[in-house]
């Protein structure tokens, strides 16, 4: 039965709970786990939130067999399209399909507006922070952020001191991880300011979901995300050093570490969608501080590099000497201003997990505003009192290494063994600057279609933010899912999957 707009409206009427709660969970929700954890779909047992009502109704009417077939078809289409990520340390079959769940995660317009405002504010402040710490260092002199915290950060690049980047924008492409606090409001868990990935899955998921729920999709009035590649290209072009010179259009390229990188699919996908060259380090060369790519028609000058290679591997003459992925001389050309790198070098200092604790202060300092999106409580282990507290409560907390990402270097207290806790205790005491601790968050749960029925799984949200002419977000993002029952880790390398995110129109 087609869902019409008016039908969805009618669901907005308040629902009264009269039957016993349990009975309200009808198939495919029969075994749905519902407790004090915030649930994206249900506000009470068997009672969906208003914006989930239409999806809920569709699922009740849809035979499970049909859903299973659809899921299989979707999996196969992902495999055939080669939408995969690479698993390291495995000889054969190194590519895995990134699991995709068919049930969309739905975000009402009002909620999105707040996310958008909060992330724009954060992105602006973090760029001002980077500009400041690599130049005058006012925020350090004023004692808002401790000087030693910045200078001891592994990702701080002194090579960037007093180097002026175009428009003063250090981070042009960012993917920020949001989670729900127990009261249902969003908070920032992590800023990814170096080379955030996953945006291609956001686009691929959308493509699949439009095929699976065409009518539902149309009736819901979902904001489109398909223009992301275009927006990204516009962002990169805005950074070009030659806005007003004789040459018409800047040459933008995407620098990939190569086919063995776990996000290689995404690199090819974005390059194709933007219509720019996908280059590897060996395709580029630097001559007289100008970067060229080697083409069949001879050498061609490159103006902007969207690099998906980490700082460390960019230039063997400047950073790691053993890097085969980079371009010798690239950093000198960058310093000379003849080429732009996006993101800039050294942005990792602002997504260090210990600096993260200061982001609310950073926002207040530069913008004179209160943060719209709060941080998650964070304990700094360099502080004696906080460290003592953390060491006494390790089985309740999550301990994270400050410079890591991808779910590596993490201790989840409630799921840890005594040996693991002891190991982390020693590491913390040896290098307190390298770790932070946070309360174990009960990430919100959303229904996923698994084993022929709807099951509740923990999710987070990673919207993608661009900063060229100004800060923009495509309405949506990657909802990552911890597919293992009870698991809180959503990273693709650790058994996570993803689902489409529907931001509703006003």
């Amino acid at each position: 039965m087609p869902h019409t707009r008016s039908r969805i409206r009618s669901f907005l009427r308040p629902v009264t709970v009269s039957e016993p709660a349990r009975a309200l969970f009808r198939p495919p929700f029969r075994n749905y786990q519902f407790d004090s954890t915030y649930d994206e779909m249900f506000e009470a047992p068997g009672v969906p939130r208003p914006h989930y009502q239409a999806l809920f109704q569709t699922l009740l009417e849809l035979p499970a067999e049909e859903m299973r077939k659809t899921q299989q078809a979707a999996d196969l289409s992902f495999l055939h399209q080669g939408i995969t990520f690479t698993v390291y340390g495995n000889d054969e079959g190194t590519e895995k399909v990134f699991p995709n769940d068919l049930l969309p995660r739905i975000i009402p317009h009002q909620e999105w507006r707040k996310i958008e405002a909060g992330l724009t504010q954060r992105m602006t402040a973090l760029n001002l922070f980077l500009e400041d710490v690599y130049h005058r260092g006012r925020i350090l002199a004023d004692g808002i952020v401790p000087r030693e915290l910045v200078y001891s950060c592994r990702h701080f690049r002194r090579e960037m001191r007093n180097l002026t980047v175009p428009r003063g924008i250090y981070v042009s492409i960012c993917g920020t991880d949001l989670v729900r606090l127990p009261d249902g409001s969003f908070a920032v868990l992590e800023d990814n300011l170096r080379v955030p990935s996953g945006v291609s899955y956001m686009l691929a998921n959308r493509k699949v979901l439009k095929k699976v729920f065409p009518t539902l999709f149309r009736d819901y009035g979902v904001c489109p995300v398909d223009h992301y590649a275009q927006a990204l290209l516009a962002t990169l072009r805005a950074l070009s050093p030659l806005q007003s010179t004789t040459r018409h259009e800047p040459t933008v390229v995407l620098l990939t570490p190569g086919v063995f990188n776990s996000a290689y699919f995404e690199h090819t996908f974005l390059a194709q969608q933007m219509g720019i060259e996908l280059v590897e380090g060996r395709d580029l060369l630097v001559h007289d501080n100008v970067v060229y790519m080697r083409t069949t028609a001879g050498l061609k000058r490159v103006d902007v590099i969207y690099r998906r290679v980490d700082d460390d591997f960019l230039d063997p003459l400047c950073f790691r000497r053993d890097s085969n992925l980079g371009v010798p001389g690239l950093f000198n050309a960058y310093r000379a201003g003849s080429v732009v790198l996006a993101n800039a070098v050294g942005t990792g200092v602002a997504d260090d997990k210990a600096v993260y604790a200061y982001v609310p202060a950073i926002i207040r300092y530069y913008l004179g505003e209160e943060p719209i999106l709060p941080n998650v409580t964070t304990y700094l282990l360099t502080d004696r009192a906080q460290r003592t507290y953390v060491l006494e409560h390790m089985e309740e907390l999550v301990v994270k290494a400050v410079g890591e990402s991808g779910g590596y270097g993490m201790l989840i207290g409630p799921h840890s063994s005594a040996e693991q806790r002891e190991e982390f205790r020693q590491r913390i005491e040896a290098e307190p600057r390298n770790y932070i601790a946070q309360p174990t968050l009960a990430l919100s749960r959303a229904p996923c279609f698994l084993e022929g029925e709807a099951q509740a799984r923990h999710v987070d949200l990673r919207p993608y933010i661009l900063y060229g002419e100004n800060v923009t977000l495509v309405p949506g993002g990657l909802t990552r899912v911890a597919l293992r029952r009870g698991s809180l880790v959503v990273n693709s390398s650790q058994g996570g999957g993803s689902k489409d995110t529907w931001v509703l129109r006003a």
Binding site: Q81, T251, Q272, E277, R294, T296
Partner: protein, 329 residues
């Protein structure tokens, strides 16, 4: 004429497209040869079949097995599914796909999906007795997969520079492979000048049918010369026919066309490869088959392959791996 419209092609990308195409052509060729051989073996006495393995191995440039006596199952396995053999069908399809994967943003999604599907299918085939029974399905799938890929390529990819490298790879490979195949046949059938070109006897007849079918040429040949098989005509058809897509002359012409187009598009002074391919094409178009046979067919075929290899080297040096100094000057 200047086709160039501000498009750029990385040397690495051109290299990958070229090799992707060569590997796929090789896989298709190998599949056809083994399949034809399989079918022929059923019609022949075991004695006649014995010498043919060697010829097959020679035609495919595969190493002779260590122990001289080897059964069909093992040999087919080596040629089709052995990961250790770098020119087995499986290895070739894998290499083709790996090359395309490295440049997949350069091709259409449909092309990538088609080649990926072929790879998944070939990769999931396991050897064994049961496989041998249904191997024709496998060979058929490889051929169909390659045909489909080229069909999809022609109708979904711009016929620009990248497409030209795909053509180039395909026809350089085909020139070499067909020439080698003809060489392997002719070296076993002594021909003396002045010998009359007679219809062949029944046992031998099957051999010549095999050669034609290995080039997908049996039907096309019959259309032109009827089913009356004569060695000279067969050799002429496969070497010198200008219209049949698996003939050497046709392939060389395609190589020449692709090289001229690329030279125009890149605006690079690239006389060397164009000249080599043009000269080879001219010599094929002005050759007569009885002269060729009289002066030694093997030598003729070898010289074709040599010139083809020279063109390959020249392409490599001009478009894929040129010294930086020459480009900056």
């Amino acid at each position: 004429m200047n086709y160039r419209s501000g498009t750029t092609m990385l040397s690495r990308v051109a290299d990958s497209l070229y090799w992707m195409s060569r590997y796929l052509e090789r896989a298709e060729h190998t599949a056809r040869l083994i399949d034809v051989d399989f079918e022929l073996r059923l019609d022949q006495s075991p004695e006649a079949a014995a010498g043919r393995w060697q010829r097959l191995l020679e035609a495919l440039n595969a190493p002779a097995p260590k122990d001289g006596d080897i059964d069909a199952t093992t040999l087919t396995h080596i040629l089709a599914l052995d990961r250790g053999n770098s020119s087995s069908i499986l290895s070739c399809v894998t290499a083709a796909r790996e090359n395309l994967r490295q440049v997949r943003e350069q091709c259409s999604s449909a092309m990538w999906e088609q080649l990926n599907r072929l790879y998944l299918q070939v990769n999931s085939t396991t050897a064994g007795e049961a496989w041998l029974l249904h191997s024709y399905v496998f060979f058929r799938a490889v051929r169909d997969g390659a045909h489909l890929f080229h069909g999809v390529t022609d109708s979904t990819m711009s016929h620009g520079e990248g497409w030209q490298y795909i053509q180039l790879g395909r026809f350089v490979e085909r020139t070499d492979a067909v020439a080698r195949l003809i060489g392997a046949y002719l070296s076993r059938l002594p021909y003396s000048a002045g010998q009359s070109d007679q219809a062949v006897e029944s046992e031998e007849y099957l051999e010549w049918v095999g050669l034609l079918k290995s080039c997908a040429a049996f039907e096309a040949y019959c259309k032109k010369h009827t089913a009356d098989l004569r060695p000279l005509r067969v050799a002429e058809f496969l070497l010198l026919n200008p219209e049949f897509p698996h003939s050497v002359r046709f392939s060389v012409d395609k190589v020449h066309t692709a090289l001229r187009a690329i030279a125009d598009m890149t605006e690079r002074k690239a006389e060397q490869p164009v000249r080599l391919a043009g000269r080879l094409g001219a010599s094929l178009s002005f050759s007569q088959i009885d002269e060729v046979m009289a002066s030694g067919a093997s030598a003729f075929v070898d010289s074709i392959r040599q010139q083809c290899a020279q063109a390959h080297t020249a392409i490599h040096q001009i478009y894929f791996d040129y010294p930086v100094e020459t480009a900056l000057a």
